[in-house]
Symmetry: C3
Subunit: 312 residues, 3 copies
Amino acid sequence: MKHLLTTTELELSEINEILSEAQRFSAGMVWKPGKQTFVANLFFEASTRTKSSFEVAERKLGLEVIPFEVGASSVSKGETLYDTVRTLEAIGVNTVVIRHQEERYFDQLCSRTGLAIINGGDGCGHHPTQSLLDLLTIQQEFVHFIGLKVAIIGDLRHSRVARSNANVLSRLGAEVVFSGPEEWFDNSLLEAGRYENIDSAIKTADVVMLLRIQHERHAEKGVQSPESYHSAYGLTEERERRMKRGSIIMHPAPVNRNVEIADSLVECERSRIFKQMENGVFVRMAVLKRSIESLMGGIPNVNDYQKRQFAF
Amino acid sequence: MKHLLTTTELELSEINEILSEAQRFSAGMVWKPGKQTFVANLFFEASTRTKSSFEVAERKLGLEVIPFEVGASSVSKGETLYDTVRTLEAIGVNTVVIRHQEERYFDQLCSRTGLAIINGGDGCGHHPTQSLLDLLTIQQEFVHFIGLKVAIIGDLRHSRVARSNANVLSRLGAEVVFSGPEEWFDNSLLEAGRYENIDSAIKTADVVMLLRIQHERHAEKGVQSPESYHSAYGLTEERERRMKRGSIIMHPAPVNRNVEIADSLVECERSRIFKQMENGVFVRMAVLKRSIESLMGGIPNVNDYQKRQFAF
Amino acid sequence: MKHLLTTTELELSEINEILSEAQRFSAGMVWKPGKQTFVANLFFEASTRTKSSFEVAERKLGLEVIPFEVGASSVSKGETLYDTVRTLEAIGVNTVVIRHQEERYFDQLCSRTGLAIINGGDGCGHHPTQSLLDLLTIQQEFVHFIGLKVAIIGDLRHSRVARSNANVLSRLGAEVVFSGPEEWFDNSLLEAGRYENIDSAIKTADVVMLLRIQHERHAEKGVQSPESYHSAYGLTEERERRMKRGSIIMHPAPVNRNVEIADSLVECERSRIFKQMENGVFVRMAVLKRSIESLMGGIPNVNDYQKRQFAF
């Protein structure tokens, strides 16, 4: 399969294959397509973090990245996403990474275009490379998923990541619990895990996975101040002291310091927040390699496991 | 001549040389300048399509593309185009591709700068690489221009392409007719071709070349709705059925589906719309090579006809 | 020292080392890091000129430049500069060039991040690569600084460059005088040089260094029109005729033609304005090499003095 659309639709064997490949990249594997290969990153929603991470991954694979500025594009003249993607295909782009506000925007594209589509986030739907980098980070720490307890805490309703992470983690054998404001929990999450009070969740979880609060959306409801959120549902220094031995903290970033997590904990020993970003590059390399190999139909490529490239 | 300004000012022999070179690139020719060569794309009017096409062409030639964002530039501090271009020259840029709203903006630049200027579109004036890719597409189909009938249909007044295409096509021996709303025809076009009713034009032309309607400009006059334009002057499914055997459909894109052309025809067998985009890359490679060779004064370069690079 | 923050904090020996290295690059030296190295240019204030110059320098060193658009970044979601920079570090960026409106923005970063920071301008504070390129241009002309008279003329209050140039020039043994509207002179400049009337300054200086007038800030005070500024404090043709034999004209650009300098003088024989831009690339190459070598801890690199690369 050349596309990467959602983790929900990936077989466990595919997920494991991507994670192994990403781990090999993290260990220094070098892989290049063997011929000039063009990729474009179409970000209809802003996200330097994800875009830059893809960009580094693409350069490490020796790909040619064609800049695409949505604002300056014919999209502003009313061009459809399909026509934009077909245009890129016509000029020789092989793979596109797309972030778009419309959920499942890719359904209109997959069967009608020859290039590979990598979903960089669709509306409130999925964000598969974020899920995969979370999985890689957990795997590096605990080796196996079976028996692990993962607490996903915070803005469950607006999070792309919560749902797909929960789904995949439970398929991989982990126990998932959700926490944070109870009114943000909804029954559709029940198939992946139950709701648990934050203090008991934090005390017993191997992985405390915090979600980013979308200030802007909550401000308008006047529900609560950052300070009151932090003391009620944030990872305070006090709560961190009650975390299980060997457990880790994760957050997709950007972090609202002193809201989801105390400023002093962002880079504490338990925190894997910057490790997640680092892993993001390796996961994206794995995903891009998978797409390009699928497009090329298995042609042998430059592959050099020994040589560590780019390690200051 | 290192610049590419308008097709009108190109000799027929130069046009043929560019088309031959583009055809060689389309057949897999590889050419690189042999030393690090810098190019910048200055797009003062938005156009991802043309810009991305140049970008791919530039990368295929191994050029270094220096990003230039007009919005963030000193142009907003009132710097002249000349000073901007001279700055780029001073820092080592050899070739600039410029799209600018001012007609013949290049007249102030050509004789006063040492770098090569490739016109990516000047106001309502010219768009030579678009003309050349149209010519390449026609040549691939029919080999010769002599005796061909080309119908240019639609927004004749606002089209950069109509005028220069008509001029070159008639110089190359083709018969050009114009069609679409009669009030958009003007006598200055008469030297290149006559006006013809759309139904007779479509029935007899070898090439039906549709022009993009500029919605925004026509809306204000309240002339007609997209639907009424489509039925009066668009390529409907019915009109397509009456097209001559072996004739083709062209459009510079982006297409207004169901305005200039029925949605179902955009990718029909006769349509060369995506082929045009594909050819755009080869034409731009040819034009860039021509400029760079001229700058280098005929130094021999890496040239490898056999090896097909980048062909998934 | 891997960072480049201000010239004021550089030892004279460091300045001389950078200038020598830049001079070697200008003479054709080729240097590459030997492994894939990532750099990002974070420009929170617009400046195509400086950004493009860094970009060319980076490409000449074979670096991978990761695009970073401030507008589209998480900075707009309230992310701190520290978190942005740490993110780039986590994804593998080794060196960042930053321009930021906040004076000494780098103080919060230097000790807490592992990557190298190159200051591309901080508020009204410093702009060290501009100072260094000015120094290189003067050195190329006069070999030594001792005994030279440099007149810095114009918008002394708003200029990043005036202060740091004056400081370094006087440390290097040059005599610095300031000129232009006397009310723009302030006593903090006295440690680097005295105020001198424009006509006497221009007649006796070896280097006439004009500063850019910030139209926008002066218009609001209604102080004077461009014309009256030009005749009172600009380099008019008449004043140029009274300049000392062998003396040169410098300006950081973009130039306001017929304000700071007569249109006809911008490219006159004495003018080094475009030479400064050219030197900017070499200085930035030297500064980047210095940072990267410091990060790599002195690993031997590709170094090839003989071969002139990229010289049309």
